[in-house]
Subunit: 369 residues, 3 copies
Amino acid sequence: MATDNQPKSATLRELAQMVGGRVEGDPETPVASAWPPEDCDRDSITLVDRTESLPRLAGCPAAAVVAPLDGPATGRPTIRVASVHKAFAAIVRHFRPDTTRRISGIHPTAVAPPSAEFGRDVSIGAGAVIGEHVVLADGVTIGAGCVVGDGCRVGESTWLASRVTLYPGTLVGERCRLHSGAVIGADGFGYRQEAGRHVLAPQLGTVEIGDDVDVGANTCIDRGVYGPTRIGDGAKIDNLVQIGHNCRIGRHNLLCSQVGIAGSTTTGDYVVMAGQVGVRDHVHIGKGAVLSAMAGVSNDVPDGEVMLGAPATPLREQKLKFAAIAKLPQLRKEFRELKRQVARLQAAVTGAGQAGDEPSVQAEEKRAA
Amino acid sequence: MATDNQPKSATLRELAQMVGGRVEGDPETPVASAWPPEDCDRDSITLVDRTESLPRLAGCPAAAVVAPLDGPATGRPTIRVASVHKAFAAIVRHFRPDTTRRISGIHPTAVAPPSAEFGRDVSIGAGAVIGEHVVLADGVTIGAGCVVGDGCRVGESTWLASRVTLYPGTLVGERCRLHSGAVIGADGFGYRQEAGRHVLAPQLGTVEIGDDVDVGANTCIDRGVYGPTRIGDGAKIDNLVQIGHNCRIGRHNLLCSQVGIAGSTTTGDYVVMAGQVGVRDHVHIGKGAVLSAMAGVSNDVPDGEVMLGAPATPLREQKLKFAAIAKLPQLRKEFRELKRQVARLQAAVTGAGQAGDEPSVQAEEKRAA
Amino acid sequence: MATDNQPKSATLRELAQMVGGRVEGDPETPVASAWPPEDCDRDSITLVDRTESLPRLAGCPAAAVVAPLDGPATGRPTIRVASVHKAFAAIVRHFRPDTTRRISGIHPTAVAPPSAEFGRDVSIGAGAVIGEHVVLADGVTIGAGCVVGDGCRVGESTWLASRVTLYPGTLVGERCRLHSGAVIGADGFGYRQEAGRHVLAPQLGTVEIGDDVDVGANTCIDRGVYGPTRIGDGAKIDNLVQIGHNCRIGRHNLLCSQVGIAGSTTTGDYVVMAGQVGVRDHVHIGKGAVLSAMAGVSNDVPDGEVMLGAPATPLREQKLKFAAIAKLPQLRKEFRELKRQVARLQAAVTGAGQAGDEPSVQAEEKRAA
């Protein structure tokens, strides 16, 4: 599965030195690849990040393990480190250098007009198309096949993977990562009806993305009507998310895959939306609120509230509702039983002549009416 | 935030003249940008479209305002007009010319074979790829990076933004707008099982899009099995929508973001589907029906019906259900109370010896069984 | 609607010979196109695959029909065959040759480095970009505008439609079809919080797609954290699907449009997920399980189970719940009636002085508290 043609075998000692770890067992153990336990060969090093993960080593042919300083015995040569993931990531990168962002210079097939301004160390991939008056700051990488519209500005060290679209006038901050297929700045979905036809309302705004924002693959963020649609600093947006025109997404939001947010909705800082959440237009999601997977939100949500279900309801309340629904068939059964009991009781109290008046029959009559 | 290098400052008088408005206050007020109230600088003009929006001006540094003819005082220099949005849109375009569709001519890096036929004023962006026998009518714009398959025909004045795919044989009407990443004509999702494997059923049809249709970013419309998947004139489709093979979407439908419609489903004219609606295959949604956000529709819907929830239910009925569910925990509490009351009553009527026979105990026994 | 410039008229006899069928009626009937009943002209041939479909012929101007060997009379010249769809598909292809995969050779505008290795009959479309050390096996077709990252390997006869992205290190098996806009190998959505910021966890793995896998338009499959995200042989994935990092999708799964599967979730063989299903992270969906449309799954699902609703519940149980919910407003009405009856009964038994103690009043008091 190597994606590189030069084997980079190393001894456990060399790897431990690289990550500042302590060797347990034979330091001359040769290692040629790094994978999670399920994917190892006999020449692999793998990881155990906590005691509960030890069973994943059973049956794993790995030659060595990266494990926490004070963790349990692994039964094979081990590198002990304070941060398992930091160390293992470094080892993985050693064996499989990550070339995802590796482009250097401006590819001869890229298209860019003289009016575009590039900082130092700007890289542009094959076939990318840069518009008039675009400004790319130092260290910006634009992947193959991207289309960056007129007047866009992209901040320092930001990376557009391949095939990203920025419509004209889009602003992107520093250190952002935009994944393949993302579309930033398409028209919002606003129409007025005129003589039986839907006529597009003005869609003349832009999109402004803050610093340290990640945008997932095939995600769409629409331009504002007159002003910007805004994504706050540090927000992380997953794949296939839709953000409507005029939205103002707060800082450090986490928006999981397939979330949809309709126009003009705003969120406070540190909002979390789990997968497939839907939020209607013109509402506000308060700071630190959490919308659980598939929640359907059509009203403002207070700061810090956790919402569940569709229509979305505060967590505790919704759980009571779900529990009550789960027991509803049983409740109906018990209810019919109680009605019969009451009918019998009534008959006992008022005499047999009243028996035809029992509630279940009344109910049937009402239903038929 | 200017996306253009030439400042286009104007006086209020000049702007009023441009939009046919009446000046209130100093006609020489200089204006250099146009934004909604939340995004203004001191040299901006902004808008108030109705009395209720006046509070948005509080704290806004704008130099001037566009407001309705008979609206309330705005407290600053104002242009009075009959249609605020029409006038403000024109002013925004003056300060920030919209270059979204600005391509002229056929870019030297575009690829097109001699068999393709182009009308007058056809523009094709950088890197776009045009197939054999493609016909592009007068005034068609094909954005950068689009792929237009063999035999496609695109009607007058239609615009494909960048990175749109038309599979071979796709027909697109006049005055359509297809946004970036849209994929028209991929194979439908139809398989038959053969010896434990899923085998793709024939997917040999096309897609036919009517006139005045908008298709959102990253939206997918699959080709029919043998014939066309059809989108009616005037339909407007938002981002990330899925329309399955053989669907026939009526005229002037509004399909909001992330809607999914399975194969062979048909809709009448003027159907509205709000965000994240799902519709199963082979059903018909009647003329003028409205499917509320996240509705899950698995049956035909009559003309004009409003559906809510999953499974989708007529609005009034679903609201009763939602209300009943919201009060269900309370109902359970009351039910337990009533059972106790009936048990006491029964004991009073028939004597203490019967107390062990009370319904709640019966219920527990049933549950355990 | 022809997508080809050469008319290919044929007689019914010629078509019957082509598909090994038996002619009923005039064998010299001329035919010039093939469409489903709703889209025919007078020179078309159409199909009737079973008796129930006969009404679709009413009003259809088609000159001829393809019908089953032992089917009912069609009232017009007919080709009788054992497999209607196989025969009709061949006839459709005769009149409208499917050029979807027709690329031959390596287009001069495609970009590929000397380190890439190509088998026999490899075709690469205009503007496609191939990375370092990429290996394309015999008969691979890479569509226009695709971006194939460093170190990717693509198996025999696999087809990437236009504008597909493979991030570096992606492995794709044999005979796969990846539709336009698909993004394979973007970063997973995993963050840890550090000093109030979300910091991307290592995303250093790959994606491994088995043999005979179909991937729909604009679908996203994220790379694993350290190892591969895996798609099993024969899996068929529709448009706009999201598959999170580290997922292991079993063989022959059917994942319909807009399904979302969060990270590290695994599925057995032959799992079916209908449209818009959501599955949380770190769960297992058992072999042969079926998740109905819009199901929201947050727990393991046993082999063969059919799940419905959100939260997902076994089919039978969920149907009881839905039925109970549908009758809930009626239940509430009957419950109030029963309470009144019990109150009257209680009054009759214990005397009028107890009337103020009736349950509905207690309930109201509780509600107010």
